[in-house]
């Protein structure tokens, strides 16, 4: 094993181990408040109480999504371990990326490189839902491992073996979360840029080396598509690909999107912070162009850089749903572009570049950590506030004279209240659902949430309101009495159903539905 690892320069020496340990500590510190306060998102309720099954992701075509959980924790979502494992995989993945991109080997540089990416607030977007934290952070490691191995195929005598392993890496990660394809191409394109600029490799050699990687990704993508045809899935929104005829138009749109993404401010990534990142990117890219020795080389460098930036929006190009500017997608794309810029600065040998990279990391990494803590504080306050509403709703249900804990109630919740935004007071141009807007007390999770802390099992998890449930009394309640929370008429209980009204627009929709009956 040691020999194999040494052969691929993967056997960690003291520098590797120290930088890995240090980075792991810093990353854990950045998200410590989340690790210590076991918070979960609105899809996690049942999984937290019970467990994840291998098949839990099949309905949306994510056939490998829960393999890591199944192998590591028997499908359970466990406090502390959930984050520790996720961060361990992310740290290892970024260490592999540092090797893949040939970052100068120093404890300080490796640590900066790893912690810069991992503490970016994009990582937060994988922490709102606990059921995918481990897998979605692991995919980074597996994908980069696939890229790392692929680069050896051209010169190795074990071509088939390496091909199979790397195809498997790409296939598994696509099966877990398809937007990982952004990572494949951003990292590969960046690698080509580095080989061209810093290793002085000829285009022919670069082409020969990385053609295998490209081939492996394409094979994996085909296998992924075939698998989707084989498994039973619900044709949910996120599986729809752009038809070939629309691709030219979408290509042009994606160019615009890939450039605009640098300028938008998001929750916990406000304009000054984004500006700082953009300045770093501009310095790095201009430096790369200056470094290219002649006009032809400069033109190619620009092309590679633009290609890398465009690949950060590859998913947006490939699928119908709007995935642009979504933090969890950008985690696999834009965050790697920022890291690519940092890597360029770290690789330049001029004193100016070294000073610049030092200034940028000294500003950006602490700001990353502060932004993470700001977000986590607000998450906790929002979580507590929404759980208080849940408590109060349960209290009203249990206080209702018609409530009988032995009955099985069909539950309807009209609307939800998201309270994280109440604690956030900054301006942003691009809303971000996972970091800020999604509610914990969500309308599609009412039944399991009502029972989560309750001694009784009274909510029917499978059946929605039936036509028979709309008695004259219910009709009268909805039409004339119902008011949104916290009004005393926000909760209705009879022998068969429970209705909770949390928002006025959803109440109006309910009234409209009723009038159509």
């Amino acid at each position: 094993m040691k020999k194999i690892l040494q052969k691929f320069s993967l056997y960690p020496d003291k520098t590797d181990i120290k930088s890995l340990a240090l980075s792991f500590l810093i990353i854990n510190f950045a998200f410590l408040y989340h690790t210590l306060n076991f918070m979960w998102g609105n899809h996690d309720v049942v999984f937290i109480k019970e467990k994840l099954h291998l098949s839990s992701g099949l309905f949306e075509g994510r056939f490998t999504q829960f393999i890591p959980h199944w192998l590591l924790t028997d499908g359970q979502i466990l406090p502390i371990i959930n984050n520790f494992l996720g961060f361990a995989f992310l740290t290892l993945g970024l260490w592999l990326l540092a090797k893949y991109w040939n970052i100068p080997k120093k404890i300080s540089l490796y640590t900066i490189f790893i912690t810069f990416f991992a503490t970016l607030p994009y990582t937060l977007s994988w922490m709102y839902f606990t059921f995918i934290t481990i897998s979605c952070l692991l995919w980074v490691m597996v994908a980069i491992f696939g890229l790392y191995l692929s680069q050896y195929i051209a010169t190795s005598s074990h071509k088939l073996f390496l091909t199979v392993i790397s195809v498997l890496c790409f296939y598994i990660t696509l099966g877990g979360y398809p937007p990982i394809i952004n990572t494949f191409f951003v990292c590969l394109s960046a690698k080509i840029t580095f080989d061209y600029l810093f290793e002085n490799n000829s285009l022919k050699k670069i082409f020969k080396t990385h053609l295998y990687t490209l081939g492996n990704i394409i094979i994996a993508a085909i296998l992924f598509k075939l698998t989707l045809h084989l498994i039973e899935h619900n044709n949910v929104y996120n599986l729809q690909s752009v038809p070939l005829s629309d691709m030219p138009q979408k290509f042009l749109e994606t160019i615009f999107i890939s450039l605009k993404q640098f300028t938008l401010s998001l929750p916990f990534m406000e304009a000054p912070y984004r500006m700082m990142l953009l300045i770093m990117v501009i310095f790095a890219f201009v430096g790369a162009i200056i470094k290219a020795s002649n006009l032809g080389k400069k033109a190619l460098t620009i092309l590679f850089i633009l290609g890398t930036v465009w690949f950060a929006s590859l998913t947006t190009f490939l699928v119908v749903p709007h995935t642009e500017y979504v933090a969890r997608i950008d985690f696999y794309g834009l965050a790697f572009v920022y890291t690519f810029a940092l890597a360029l600065l770290l690789k330049f040998k001029t004193p100016l570049a070294k000073s610049l990279s030092l200034i940028f990391v000294l500003i950006i990494i602490p700001f990353n950590i502060l932004n993470d803590y700001r977000a986590l504080k607000i998450w906790k306050q929002g979580f507590d506030a929404e759980m208080q509403i849940l408590d109060n709703v349960i209290e009203r249900i249990e206080n209702s004279p018609k409530f009988n804990p032995d009955n099985l109630y069909r539950v309807y919740q009209a609307g939800d209240i998201s309270l994280r935004p109440s604690y956030y007071k900054k301006d942003y141009t691009q809303p971000e659902v996972f970091s800020l807007d999604l509610p914990y007390f969500a309308m599609w999770q009412t039944a399991p949430l009502l029972e989560f802390f309750s001694p009784f099992k009274y909510a029917d998890h499978n059946t929605p309101l039936l036509l028979n449930d709309i008695t004259p009394d219910v009709k009268d309640f909805i039409k004339n009495k119902a008011r949104p929370w916290p009004h005393r008429n926000a909760v209705y209980v009879d022998e068969n159903i429970i209705i909770i009204i949390l928002s006025e627009p959803e109440l109006q929709i309910l009234k409209e539905k009723l009038s159509q009956l």
Binding site: L36, N37, L376, A385, L419, Y423, K425, P486
Partner: protein
Amino acid sequence: MSSQLNTFRLKEPEIKLWLIAFAILSIIYLPLLVNFIWGNHDWQPLITDSGLSAGLIEGRFAQYIFLNTFLMGKILPILNMLLGFLFYTLAIVLLYTRFFAFEIQKSTPIIIITAAILPYINEILYFQFIVMSQLTWELIITFALLSAQKAYLSQNFVFYTVLTFLFLFLALGGYPASVNLFVTGACLKLVQKVTENTSLKNLIKQALPYFIPLCISFVLVYVIYQYLQHHHIMLNLYNNQHLSLSDLILKILPTIKLSLMSLIQPQPFFSLSYKILTTIIIVGFVCLEVCKTKNIKQRILICLLLFLLLLCLKFSAWLTNDIKGDFFADNDPSAFMVRTDFYAVPCLILFAITALTKQKLLIKNITLLLTVTILWLSINADFSFSKTHLLGFKAETNLQQRINARLLEHENYNPETYYTVVQAGELPLRHKYYLRKPFEKYGLYTLNTPYTRHWIAFEYYNFYEPYPFVREGTFIDPADITPQMADFLSHIKTWPDPQSVYMDNNYAIMALTPDGKKLLTKQFGNIKKDLQ
């Protein structure tokens, strides 16, 4: 330049001591680090940022400098407290190794840890909005002491004296009571110098770099206070009352008496046995210093300095004025404020223990035994504080949730209206989780104050609600008193009675305690008389 930098650079043993103290302190307060809870003034600052000028209302012009420098003015969980611990433990280590220049021995980690975790820190941890700055002033004052020490014998006397002034002025602008550390440290340093056979002339020379910046800083702070009060920026509050020069002279002896009393007065989280043990250490140290020298002049000088030390321990209490009959004068008198003792007593204990451990083996061993006992009692007290803080907060926020639920379910509640909440009485619950020991007194912020204050009801009534429903202000306009409200106020019951809550289109009124009810009924009676 590089040799100077080398002098300032921390040595490896110092870094080790610092990290050990920091780690232990962090572990002891892990319950409070993990569970982010806050005091009664923190509700609003938790949501909005604290700007640089936020402390001007009580004259604290430098209070928010560090919060803005390190955390963008935000109160952030874990980071807020950890940064404070980091600076505070560094201060303790620097006091030991640099200012008092004690040699690092095997027992040093125990002494440093003991000084760092003395329960005086507990009161500092109650308010989140000042926790980092309060802990950081300890380091800033230590820097002031170090530069004052450097001024003597230095060619740059003026430079170091000015530097001392700047550090001291900054700290006084953040929290005036942090001066206790400066004067206590300076006094102990002079005691140390006398025992090293320093002549009186030299002693005065050495005292000047402490004395001059102290006087200038206070004059400047006084001028700033006058300016702020004149422009109505600063309020005339209980904690910024000051005395005339003649009153100060008259107050010296009463302050020294209070200083002696506070050494043995048990307070919440400072049991009698704890106070006795620390007093034994202090008395032992005093005896040691007096007996150390046979020169009668030196003995007199040491006695005078030790007498002065008693005043230094309560320096802030000496300078301020408790208004007779005021709530704070009765419940939180300045001579017994744990948060002001935080700046003086740990420094004295650190010095006293170290001085005693340098003596004969028997004295050394007894001192170490006492130190370990104090350490253990401190650990218990600190965890006990965390427990009461956590449970009290939980109980009071749960109660608040129930009060809000009752208001929002009230038949007169209208989601489109903002209400003036008149909450008569407060229900602090922390004390329920603490068994008071005999003779214990005071402890307003360590144990007694509630997490909600009725005059800022809008902050906590709105905090967890999806739609704010309470407006600022807590007074009933007599013109708004309807017959229904008058009827309620005449027959008001206390919480949780169904008749304890009143709501109309404008007001939400409730009596949480019998005392609150009494007050409300009395006020209503007066209004009724006026109206008649």
